[in-house]
């Protein structure tokens, strides 16, 4: 049958009525792939050059403080005879003899201190201590702060009031007072603990160090708790939680699906920014002589030791000072980057 040239009727054949193939279906979908919280955040983070540089710096510092000391020819407590107060890349008389005899002597890259200990390894060990303190203290703060903060927000009422009053009190107690008193108070019990089997490490770490951790656990959770509490209080009142509740979602589902995921960004950011501030506090305490026990170095105690010889050996101060500033700076910048990536609302 010939078609009328003016007809608008389409030319159809039976193939046109076959079910669409998957490819054809996909080509019609105009929505992009759903991006998970992590993917989205990581994508934004990867674009942030400053944050990526900080990650590289942090990894480098970790490499130097955890891996390199294992292969380093000197140890942090080893006192090399006749090698006191050497300038960088100089050798003691006996080492010079060895070199003249054709043997190889590993150079003192950062010189030595007044007891003849290689300074490079001491700075590396110091960074290790500072990093460990920063990380452990932050973990303690995270667990305690997040738990107490969420309890306050969820329970509400008088539980909330009491917790917030405790937070107020802790804010007003001078922290140095508690740290010094605790290091006195914990002296005896810790000594007993150190003699108990399996707790020998307590001696190496030192009473002061343990009391620093106890103080972190007792005092510094308040900031984190406040943060989490306010976050959950806002989320609890948000429309989508009300909607989920109206649709009959159980509390456990609301906590898991809505509250936790939305808090995660804040948690990550606050935790990352807590690390440098813990390192800050530790270095400050070590500087005052309340930190790690000798001969274990920390960046703060290294700087503190170097002050007396400041006019003659300025590099003994510069090296730990620059290292600690670099560590804190890169954690700060990484925290800022994470905030932009995972929690844009927080940007003030």
């Amino acid at each position: 049958m010939n078609k009328n040239p003016l007809s608008l009727q389409l030319d159809l054949n039976p193939d046109d009525f076959l079910p669409a193939s998957n490819e054809e279906k996909e080509s019609l979908v105009i929505m992009r792939d759903s991006v998970s919280f992590w993917k989205d955040g990581m994508r934004r983070l990867k674009k942030n050059k400053v944050a990526m540089t900080s990650i590289v710096v942090i990894i480098l510092v970790m490499f130097f403080s955890f891996i390199v000391p294992m292969f380093y020819p000197y140890s942090y407590e080893q006192q090399i005879k006749g090698a006191n107060n050497l300038a960088p890349f100089t050798y003691s008389a006996s080492e010079q003899e060895l070199i003249d005899a054709g043997e190889k002597v590993f150079p003192h890259i950062c010189g030595t201190d007044k007891l003849g200990r290689d300074y490079a390894i001491r700075v590396m060990m110091g960074s290790r201590i500072s990093l460990i303190v920063g990380l452990i203290a932050t973990a303690i703060i995270l667990v305690i702060g997040a738990t107490i903060g969420s309890i306050a927000a969820f329970a509400g009422g008088w539980v909330d009031i009491i917790i917030m009053r405790i937070v107020d009190v802790i804010y007003t107690i001078p922290d140095v007072l508690l740290i010094v008193l605790l290091s006195f108070a914990l002296d005896k019990p810790l000594e007993n603990l150190a003699n108990a089997p399996g707790f020998g490490w307590v001696k190496t770490v030192g009473d002061n160090m343990i009391s620093i951790f106890v103080v972190f656990a007792l005092l510094y959770w308040v900031g984190m708790a406040r943060m989490i509490r306010s976050q959950i209080l806002i989320l609890k009142e948000s429309e989508y939680v009300t909607a989920a509740r109206a649709l009959g979602a159980k509390s456990s589902r609301i906590i898991k699906k809505h509250l936790l995921t939305n808090c995660l960004g804040t948690l990550i950011v606050t935790t990352t920014l807590q690390i440098p501030s813990s390192i800050f506090t530790e270095s400050f305490l070590s500087f005052l002589g309340l930190g790690v026990a000798v001969p274990l170095p920390s960046l703060g105690s290294l700087a503190s030791d170097a002050i007396n010889g400041l006019s003659t050996y300025p590099y003994l101060l510069m090296i730990p000072a620059v290292t600690i500033s670099l560590i804190i700076l890169s954690f700060n910048l990484l925290g800022d980057g994470l905030r932009d990536a995972f929690d844009p609302k927080l940007k003030n």
Partner: protein, 305 residues
């Protein structure tokens, strides 16, 4: 407002009382005492000293006496610095710390706010990047590093500034610079970001549209709204700075409250520890209260409750 103030003051008194109580019992729980470290002292003399200061009485009785006296403003005599009252020591030491700290607060406020505004106003320009870099570095450098670097370059290397003590006006330059370093950087960052926030608001566009000059809109509208976060930070910042930084006082050998406090703790000067703790806590609380009221003055929309 009156009701609010009354409530806040009542809460403050309760908080200070709790802080005092915790400190009192914690301090006494710790082994050792104020007269144990003096080797030349005989047991009889020690007992006499303890009796004189009432340290031989049961702890609960000591506590009651102390709290009653403290409530009347009498913090007792120092156990170590014989013949001086705690009030006397705190007043004289605080005067020193507050002088250095007050200058540091002023310096950091003026420089921080000004540079923060400039950075926000010239957003993306070279000045902005420079200020951002400086302020980011500034909050990453611990105070003891700042102090020692200043000491090394200006005191030891260039020899243009005196290093120890507080005898002339030149002596103040380094401690004030060291003390204001961190707050300046922090205020700069805070001011820049809140200023950027405000500059993007609708009312700023309205101000421009109705023909206000740039100067007036910047200082009358933007500044007043943008300064609130800085005010929040100011409360604890002033309290910390005025009461003396232990590190700065130690490095520059300034006879201030911070060093005195550490000394009192290590020497177990019970009355001085208590007095200083109560003083610091009260100061902190008063500062926060002032900040909250200032909030209301700056932004009348804020409701105090």
């Amino acid at each position: 407002m009156g009701k609010y103030l009354a409530k806040r003051i009542f809460m403050a008194i309760v908080t200070i009382w709790v802080v005092a109580t915790i400190t009192f019992f914690l301090m006494n729980m710790v082994p050792g005492g104020p007269f144990l470290s003096e080797k030349a002292i005989s047991p009889a003399a020690q007992a006499a000293l303890e009796a004189k200061y009432g340290l031989d009485k049961p702890l609960s009785e000591q506590y009651l006496t102390y709290i009653t006296d403290a409530a009347h403003g009498d913090f007792g005599d120092s156990l170590k610095q014989r013949g001086r009252t705690v009030n006397d020591i705190i007043t004289s030491k605080f005067a020193v710390s507050a002088k250095v700290g007050g200058m540091a607060v002023l310096v950091s406020l003026v420089i921080g706010v000004t540079l923060g505004i400039i950075a926000a106003y010239r957003r993306g320009k070279f000045v902005d990047s420079l200020i951002s870099v400086v302020s980011t570095m500034g909050i990453a450098v611990p105070s003891f590093v700042v102090c020692t670097l200043l000491l090394y370059f200006f005191g030891v290397k260039l020899k243009i500034l005196p290093t120890l003590g507080l005898t002339s006006s030149k002596h103040y330059i380094m401690p004030v610079a060291a003390l204001s370093f961190y707050p300046t950087s922090y205020i700069m960052r805070l001011m820049r970001s809140s200023m950027l926030d405000v500059l993007g608001q609708d009312y700023m566009r309205t101000a421009k549209a109705k023909g206000l000059s740039e100067k007036i809109s910047l200082f009358k509208h933007a500044l007043r709204n943008a300064i609130l976060p800085v005010v929040t930070y100011l409360g604890p910042m002033i309290a910390y700075t005025l009461t003396g930084s232990f590190v700065v006082e130690k490095i520059f050998t300034i006879p201030g409250l911070g060093g005195e406090f550490i000394g009192a703790i290590t020497a177990r000067d019970y009355t001085l520890i208590m007095g200083t703790t109560i003083f610091l806590a009260t100061f902190m609380i008063i500062m926060n209260l002032i900040v909250d009221i200032l909030y209301k003055v700056i932004d009348p929309r804020i409701n105090l409750k």
